[in-house]
């Protein structure tokens, strides 16, 4: 079958403004948008620029706006889209454009680093040198937010983040959640203090775009709500 992709192109060395270019080519219904982009780059226009690596939704490189929604190009099959119309492909919104579908992720990772996204426990290790114990229920408590691949689809779908890059954004909160609710971690209070501030969870307007965008199906808005609740109540259950 034939598909037409309408891609937002931008080369800072040549273009003052981004513009759309259209590519029509043969494809299979089971092709991913990433496959189509690869075909265009391989055979039609090598200047088309995008990030990709694993091609099966685990590395988080290829987040982009496809028909107006953030998705991973490698997890979006043509058969899930209306191919009788043009498919619009644009870079994720809210981060500086570098070239074509590539944006500068620096702010995104800086925000991630703000929420202490790492395990903290300075208490002595078990004397036998083995693992810290954790019940299956305690482990299950934060399972959902361990799935994050830092693709940025959620944060760049967030209306607050579009307007204000200083808001840490859904992804950072998800990663804070992963540690706040880990029974072995000891820095929940510090993280919650950060997240209770002007750039934290209370900037969330529950627009829900983040959850809809997550290619890992993390219930992000729910996680954010749980963090809000932990700040209000001080309870980590």
């Amino acid at each position: 079958m034939q598909v037409t992709l309408k891609i937002l192109r931008y080369n800072p060395e040549k273009d003052a403004q981004p513009h759309y270019e259209r590519y029509t080519l043969d494809a299979e219904p089971t092709d991913r948008i990433l496959d189509v982009l690869e075909k265009i780059k391989a055979h039609e226009d090598g200047t088309l620029t995008f990030r990709r690596s694993c091609a099966h939704g685990i590395c988080g490189s290829c987040a982009m706006r496809i028909n107006g929604r953030n998705r991973l190009a490698c997890k979006t099959l043509l058969q899930t889209l209306d191919t009788s119309k043009e498919i619009t492909v644009e870079p994720i919104l809210g981060l500086p454009r570098v070239k074509d579908l590539v944006v500068d992720m620096t702010t995104f990772f800086d925000n991630y680093k703000k929420v202490m996204p790492y395990f903290v426990n300075d208490e002595p290790l078990p004397e036998d040198g083995r693992e810290r114990l954790q019940s299956p229920e305690e482990r299950e408590r934060f399972d959902d937010t361990t799935k994050c691949i830092l693709c940025g689809a959620c944060t760049t779908a967030c209306p607050t983040f579009w307007a204000d890059n200083s808001y840490v954004g859904p992804s950072a909160i998800v990663n804070a959640h992963r540690f706040i609710f880990d029974s072995r971690d000891r820095a929940a209070a510090e993280r919650l203090k950060i997240l209770a501030g002007e750039s934290g969870v209370f900037r969330c307007r529950t627009a829900f775009n983040c959850t809809e965008a997550c290619p890992r199906e993390i219930d992000i808005t729910k996680a954010i709500a749980e963090v809000k609740r932990a700040i209000i109540t001080g309870r980590l259950d």
Binding site: A55, L133, R139
Partner: protein
Amino acid sequence: MSVKTHQYEVVIVGAGGAGLMAALYASQKASTAVISKLYPTRSHTGAAQGGISAALGNIEEDRPEWHTYDTVKGSDYLGDQDAIEFMCFKAPELVYELEHMGLPFDRTPEGRILQRPFGGHTNNETGKPVRRACHAADRTGHMILQTLYQQCIKNDVTFFDEFQVLDLIMVNGKAAGVVAIELATGDLHVFHAKAVIMATGGWGRVWEITSNAYAYTGDGAAIVLRKGLPLEDMEFFQFHPTGIYKLGILITEGVRGEGGVLINDKGERFMEKYAPHVKDLASRDVVSRAMYIEMKEGRGINGQRYLYLDVRPETVNKYAKIDGRTNPDGTPYQVTAEEILHKLPDIIDFCKTYLGVDPVKEPMPVQPTAHYAMGGIPTNVKTEVLADEKGTVVPGLYAAGENACVSVHGANRLGTNSLLDLVVFGKEAGVHAAEYATGAAFEPLPGDAADFARSQLDAILNSKGNERVADIAAEMKHEMMDKVGVFRTEEGMQEALNKIRELKERFQHIHIDDRGKTFNTDLLTAWEIGNLLDIAEVTAASALARKESRGAHSRDDYPKRDDQNWLKHTLAWRRDGEIELRYKPVVLTKYEPKERVY
């Protein structure tokens, strides 16, 4: 092009599991920079699914000795036994270390790390599969990568993200740094260093069907090869039995660990013919070969080149009963759809996304997929890179992870040993490189340090032909899949080698569209294809020379293992456009080679 210079005592190339582990340790003792062509969390370690093996014995009796023997046997006796013993005895310590870093392993009711069975891992006394793979659902690699990156942030490790290393700087026979291009700007950067750790991962993209990332283009190995250093055991590349049909996306062996079975067109569970004891949990080379034979003999599903991997609860329970499989408490092993969903969530997601198949309701179409490089940059147990068959160390140069060949995997890697390899030898690399750097001086940088890197890019940018890089890549992948894949013959491999040389010639006449500086992936993709061609050539030449079948190297014309003549490692150099092969003995300690039966 402007060149910027940086100075760090230790420079680590690659930010996957091995690179990050090395970074954590090196940065404690020496100024350290990690240079990565991807953001660290994009590394392919994140795609590893099933688990990391360690004889913790959390569920049932297990011993590091058994793990060692299983790995030696799995390697088809080509693994160096000192290195294997080192790794397997270090395993529990490293797994606990990961846990202490916060890695969210699944848990037993007692709160300990949960373990599952995996191919080739056995109780040496009963011969039955043992639960040795420690896991975090089916995203263990993802959790290792995330955890290590998190710890690097905590420890303020310096990263140069999206910098593609193009060349290794050698001065007076010692490593003195690397040259990299910054993707965002196109600027060249020279990193002056006392020690360099190569941790750039594998090269599955040499083959058509692969579980590997687009980024897996063997950059580190190719760079080292171009510096006149050898690559070891390149003929051994693992084909994982269960890749999603046509796409190659990996379906973890953990599926079979949880009781899934392979089924042919006749509805037979054919693995009992090939591995009567452990059946579907035989090691990967054995299973992939069995699948090829089934398909070749016409028992692929609908005569096509795929088989079914069936993890529907009714199937699992049926064969668990036949096998007499039990839970740790002795009760019969039975699963429900919910339990499968809970243990293999990502697999279920892959299948639903890419196949429209729900694995608890329908079987998954699978075929062997190019998965893992057993060979690579030769190192000793301290991860020091070796320059020749006599074990001469290249001062200041280290390698760890998939691009290195210690050799702990020999001719065939056991599932879950790759993640173990990463953390064990990543740590060793970090420790030893920092130790070396603190005792060494910076070698003076030559004035033309960036010239070779620049000349490689210029050659591509100024190339005047009209060959498209993608066509060359496609032909190489097809040829390698067909002729240097699961089954190999003299004739096929020779054809492949000729073809690759022809493609290398055509590569001199490519045309790329993008000549800009900003994020020029057209240029870098072309450079990567150049790496793959070099790797493919070495692989084919090494394979052609090895006249036996061992592990992943399986020849129709020499179907038997030949310990008399071939119990040795291949070392391959590229000199004056020719591949030169030499050999070195395998380190044997306790385990005499014997016939391998699963």
